[in-house]
Symmetry: C2
């Protein structure tokens, strides 16, 4: 038995002739491998640090990647003991720990909403007479007869899909004709042997990240959670590029398959771990922005980016497992969170639902800062929403050393007055490493860094470096001036360049201008806002103080800010377990009024004013102005 040593110190056994991919899988270390280990998708990259492996092929690996020691885990067979490192992009995170820690909270959340667990898919036990020569009507007729006799629906009239019929005969016989019949409204979903647990999956399709929750539908309990990158990234970072790829590039079905493989990889890993057949997953909820939902379903997204920005579908009918391509019962049901407009999708409806702002009389502001920035304002009587086109820079895209808020990301920055030496905080993994190594800077690190640089006089209010600071941290690089946040790290020096800062200022200006335009539209001032819900990738890490100094968040009493994390997945979970909340999501989407900022007359002025640090209009940021004092005049 050979050993594969991971960079975390863990050792995994490998049998003769077993690929690294398969050996890791047996040890429940799951790599992304959309092609199922055929060597064609090029995604299960690992870095061979020590030892030798027989390599059957390099597939899509570039020459550079090969030089850097990367191999495909599915095509590599350890010859003796080896040591490997698993790059972040290759790993599927199936986070049992996260799942367990969230499980209690989620069930409490459902209760807090005053809603019981009431899954879409209902069930009825049936004892169907065995076929005999003298009673030889077909499987389907026998089932229908049993349903009529059990009075499962008053008129007994169910819709049977092709997928249901395809699996029915085998299931009836496997169960010895004593079955649980599952259905959603009039739609037959499955027949199964009695006593089988019914599962559901909640899926958040982010432009950058995909998250899946596996849930026991009888109890509503969260069984497991997993996340991975949305591999559509290789077709572009933002939704616009992907729409162009899908339409002009003719890649709609490729984009569709790509994200479906990501989701199925997560579902598959979670099910495999527990020996659950995929056919036991009978209900799925999809939450994503309008483009992601269209691409998931394979619907042409062209009109989303063409004026007047009309999506194909906003309120989705219930569709079938077989239509979705998901690793689930093919007769199962898929609910898609409704969207409001082309740039305010089901993820925002899920977020508003999870925030509960639509139930209270107090006026609240909801901000989802992910690959894009969407905002909503309102209460139990009205809701308005807008999209900010902030772009994906807080997810690391378009920033020289940008990265997602994962292991190795600089997430906090302090700058020492006098010599301008930075003190950085790095996200450490669960791998038990003692001293985490910086690999890049994530959104919260960027916000920290810029506000610190402003406060300590490294940059001016336009985001330009002050010349002649007398620190080697400030230097000239390829993109003009740059500030070194970390020296000699794993990936070399990690810097923030003037171009990076410009990108970040544009993003924060778009968000702030969105908020102020939306408030103006409804005739409210910041004082009227009682709560600010922050959702999105850095919901857990964001330093509000620093984000206010940056001028991204409004200058409001800090206690009004509430972090909600990924509300898209939370909302999807709520819709998975509760029919009432599913209905509420529909009401939210119907009720929310969309404001198209790109045609709003005041927006461009708001945006231009917000490009400064924190803002051209000092009166909007009184506490920041106080901090900056007279040292940093406009």
């Amino acid at each position: 038995m050979k050993k594969i040593r991971l960079s975390t110190g863990r050792e995994v056994p490998a049998r003769a002739g077993q690929s690294i991919l398969d050996a890791l899988k047996e040890a429940e270390v799951f790599l992304t491998a959309s092609c199922g280990g055929k060597g064609t998708c090029g995604k299960c990259k690992v870095k061979l640090l020590e030892g030798k492996a027989g390599i059957e092929g390099y597939g899509k690996l570039t020459t550079e990647e090969r030089k850097a020691g990367l191999v495909l885990a599915c095509q590599s067979f350890p010859e003796g003991g080896i040591s490997i490192e698993i790059p972040e992009n290759s790993r599927i995170v199936v986070g049992e720990k996260i799942a367990v820690s969230r499980a209690q909270n989620l069930l409490e959340l459902v209760q807090a909403f005053g809603s019981g667990v009431s899954p879409l898919v209902e069930e009825a036990g049936l004892d169907i007479p065995h076929p005999a020569i003298e009673d030889n009507s077909s499987d389907l007729e026998r089932l229908k007869r049993a349903l009529r006799e059990a009075r499962v629906l008053d008129d007994g009239h169910f819709n049977f899909s092709h997928a249901f019929l395809s699996g029915m005969g085998h299931a009836l016989r496997e169960a010895g004709w004593e079955v649980v019949f599952r259905y959603a409204g009039r739609d037959a979903v499955s027949v199964k042997p009695k006593g089988r647990t019914q599962y559901g999956v909640a899926v958040d399709i982010g432009t950058t990240t995909v998250v899946v929750y596996l849930v026991d539908l009888s109890s509503g309990r969260l069984i497991d959670a997993g996340s991975t990158y949305n591999s559509q990234i290789r077709y572009g970072d933002d939704v616009i590029t992907r729409i162009i790829q899908a339409t002009e590039g003719g890649q709609l079905s490729t984009l569709r398959e790509t994200v479906r493989d990501d989701i199925n990889g997560l579902i598959g890993a979670m099910l495999q771990k527990r020996g659950i057949p995929f056919g036991d997953v009978e209900f799925a909820v999809i939450s994503g922005n309008t483009t992601m939902s269209h691409l998931f379903w394979g619907f042409n997204p062209a009109s989303i980016r063409e004026e007047p920005y009309v999506p194909g579908v906003s309120f989705y009918p219930l569709l079938r497992g077989a239509d979705s391509g998901l690793a689930m019962d093919q007769g199962g049901i898929v609910y898609t969170l409704p969207s409001v407009a082309s740039y305010v999708g089901g993820d925002i409806v899920a977020g508003v639902l999870a925030s509960g702002m639509n139930r209270k009389s107090e006026v609240a502001l909801f901000m989802d800062i992910g690959t894009n920035g969407e905002i909503a304002v309102g209460n139990n009587e009205w809701l308005m929403t807008a999209a900010c086109s902030a772009g994906p820079c807080f997810e690391g895209s378009g920033i020289r050393h940008g990265m997602r808020a994962t292991e190795g990301a600089i997430e906090s920055v302090k700058i020492r007055p006098g010599d301008f030496e930075p003190e950085i905080g790095i996200i450490s993994g669960n791998h038990g490493e003692k001293t985490p190594v910086a690999r890049g800077v994530c959104g919260s690190g960027m916000i920290d860094a810029i506000s610190e640089m402003l406060l300590k006089g490294v940059i001016d209010r336009k985001g330009k470096f002050h010349p002649g600071l007398g620190t080697p941290r400030l230097r000239r690089g390829e993109d003009g001036m740059e500030f070194v946040l970390a020296k000699n790290s794993a990936s070399g020096d990690i810097t923030l360049t003037e171009v990076d800062i410009e990108n970040i200022l544009r993003a924060k200006a778009a968000i702030y201008a969105g908020v102020s335009s939306l408030l103006k539209e409804v005739g409210l001032t910041l004082d009227a806002i009682e709560k600010v819900y922050i959702a999105g990738g850095f919901g857990n890490y964001l330093n509000v103080e620093k984000a206010i100094i940056l001028g991204m968040l409004p200058d409001m009493p800090r206690e009004k800010f509430v972090f909600l994390g990924n509300t898209s997945i939370t909302g999807a979970y709520l819709c998975l377990v509760s029919g009432d909340l599913r209905e509420e999501a529909g009401e939210i989407a119907s009720k929310m009024t969309y404001m198209e900022l790109s045609v709003s007359p005041g927006f461009m002025n708001e945006y231009m004013s917000a490009l400064f640090l924190p803002h051209t209009d000092a009166s909007q940021f009184p506490t920041v102005e106080k901090m900056l004092g007279a040292d940093q005049p406009l």
Copy 2:
């Protein structure tokens, strides 16, 4: 420009670099090519008689086939003028002439049934407001709004399938938002520009042959008809072998795809000829025996052949184009004729419908003699049915020189008293050949031959050759004694062997025993039967007199026999154009009582008695006994 000369004398031009397949297609000579001309399916075989062609590959052709001069038309490129022969198996018959000649009759038939043309798919014209910034709800919401405003359904609640939604956005824009919305009940089918004709296809899936009718749904007019072999034949001649292949052989999806490709090849050729996009085919009707219907839908047929012979589905719900894999609108609707039992399928229900016997008070007998033999007896008050397991020998299978009733088949035989020289009739093609060449013997030829041999004393009442006849036509072959029907034909001598005759006797005995058992079960004698409807492959050719001498058909007044041809396709057509007749088909299937002959106590005796010529019980065949006279005692 090169020329391809067909064995019919016709010349077809071929451009440089054009394959034989493509050149023939342009000339509307369609070959079977399931793979679309990639060289993988091995079906577009042609025989190169003269000239040279560049061959890119031989694909699945066997060494023998190559030696015989066969090439794949898609992989062969004429180098100069060539002559080819197209084997029967390679040809798709798109029979405009047949279609036109049947068209009038079919419409008259619909009228004769007192039924108007009322297709399943209805339509409504909608003018949908164009999207605008101030009215930017999604495509689907706009459509729903227009449907509500036009009050297309009272409650406005339609079901939208994934396939419908996938094509909707493009269709709305292509039509400039002025559309025809099509629907079946609550199911949305399509949106199309106004003024587009709506087509439907009726499909008869026989165990041996597939027939497709293309119909204009607005008028009910038959546009074209085509037929080809069911390529599942390569997995076995009869339904039992195919069920075994699909289940124990694990080939269910292969068998499914095989017949789907056959059907799509026919539909594709007919549409291509007229430049009709496949999306304009919005309704399809499938008629086939229970096994064929299961295989078409990909439903597991295992239980069909296991006691107590229960099919998975008998009354099919309406399913979607997308589920069927047919070359049609993916949101379109597919109706499947209901079956009665595992061995009495939708084709028999279609046949009874087409015969009209279920509407009259006179008691009629319906016999469908195809790859199997199914019979029904009854009137407007009752209907009984049974399956005979006759086997496919009348379709040519299991007979040394057997073939289908197509070009080159010996369809009639007379034997000269004295020297026993046979006089044969051969089916000639439409190809203008002067002297057709015998290539084999079809079902009606077999029946003719055996009854003639009996009448003229070549064989005895057990089907054994009389020794010492003193004719070289009777000789010893590989399978024992054999009679030479044709000498030195294209395929060498064409004979009927003693083994062939045994097979034919078994088949005719099964059919006759089925009829007599069924009549006994209902307590009727032959006198009570007012009409005998003969359906199936040789409905047009069968010589009743000879079939009675053989003892296959009951000895009844000849004027009671009515030939209906392929009633499976006629019934499918009727269901395509008329909702009333679709409903009537459902009533027939519900009303028909199935009798399982294999457990019927008297059946085996009936069968054994019927193995003689014409029958052990001479009193059942008085007119035949008179003909045979004293020369042929029992």
